[in-house]
């Protein structure tokens, strides 16, 4: 089996700061995703990437940048952290070609903005 590793697990930032989250997968999957999880709102798609150097915007891309420089890694940048923001960011991957819709998720990175 494979694993998705997200770093850091906890991230505390200041208002206006640029913050970066990293994700690594060893499934050799083509497609990777970043979701934001807010209490009571489910998961919302921020960005996804179907291959190296590809980026596709999700429903919540404003205020975020993403980068997929290698097949195994996908990073997400909060361009300007908002005061009192608190959310969990989830990275996921899926096979890509022949996809069945099954996503494999990391444990999440919890962001707190002071």
């Amino acid at each position: 089996g494979g694993i998705i590793t997200q770093t850091p697990k906890f991230l505390i930032g200041q208002e206006g700061q640029k913050l970066t989250l990293k994700c690594q997968q060893n499934f050799n999957h083509d497609t990777m995703y970043w979701y934001r999880q807010d209490s009571g709102k489910g998961l919302r798609l921020i960005y996804y990437s179907i291959t190296e150097n590809d980026l596709q915007k999700g429903d919540l891309s404003e205020g975020y940048d993403a980068s997929r420089e290698k097949k195994s890694s996908f990073s997400l940048t909060v361009t300007s952290a908002q005061k009192n923001e608190m959310a969990v960011f989830l990275c996921a991957s899926s096979i890509g070609t022949g996809d069945t819709g099954q996503l494999y998720f990391g444990e999440g990175s919890k962001l707190t903005v002071l």
Partner: protein, 113 residues
């Protein structure tokens, strides 16, 4: 607009009791439907999925779900719950592309001894 709704934010059941977690969808065509589970301090894991065919689909750990086109629902069921089933359960749906699944808000299940 495409959507998935889980009307119950929290559900509490006794160990050994039966369980139903509700999910309603709104799609112009029959969607692909999934149930995912998030155990404490873990990532989401897929329990089961429905694409077409038999409306009752079996998943892991004794879970099953039934697709209903007439009711626009995809409810999750289990005959007898265990304390270890305590988790947050998410219903998700997708249209023509698997890359844009829509997740419901989740239902937090508490199983009491």
């Amino acid at each position: 607009a495409q959507s998935v709704t889980q009307p119950d934010a929290r559900v509490t059941v006794s160990e050994g009791a039966s369980l139903q977690l509700r999910c309603k969808y709104s799609y112009s065509a029959t969607p692909y439907l999934f149930w995912y589970v998030q155990y404490p301090r873990q990532g989401l894991q897929m329990l089961l999925k429905y694409y077409s065919g038999d409306p009752v689909v079996q998943g892991v750990n004794g879970f099953e779900a039934e697709f209903s086109k007439s009711d626009s629902s995809f409810h999750l069921r289990k005959a007898s719950v265990h304390w270890s089933d305590s988790a947050v359960y998410f219903c998700a749906g997708g249209g023509s592309s698997f890359n844009k699944l829509t997740f419901g808000a989740g239902t937090r299940l508490a199983v009491c001894p």
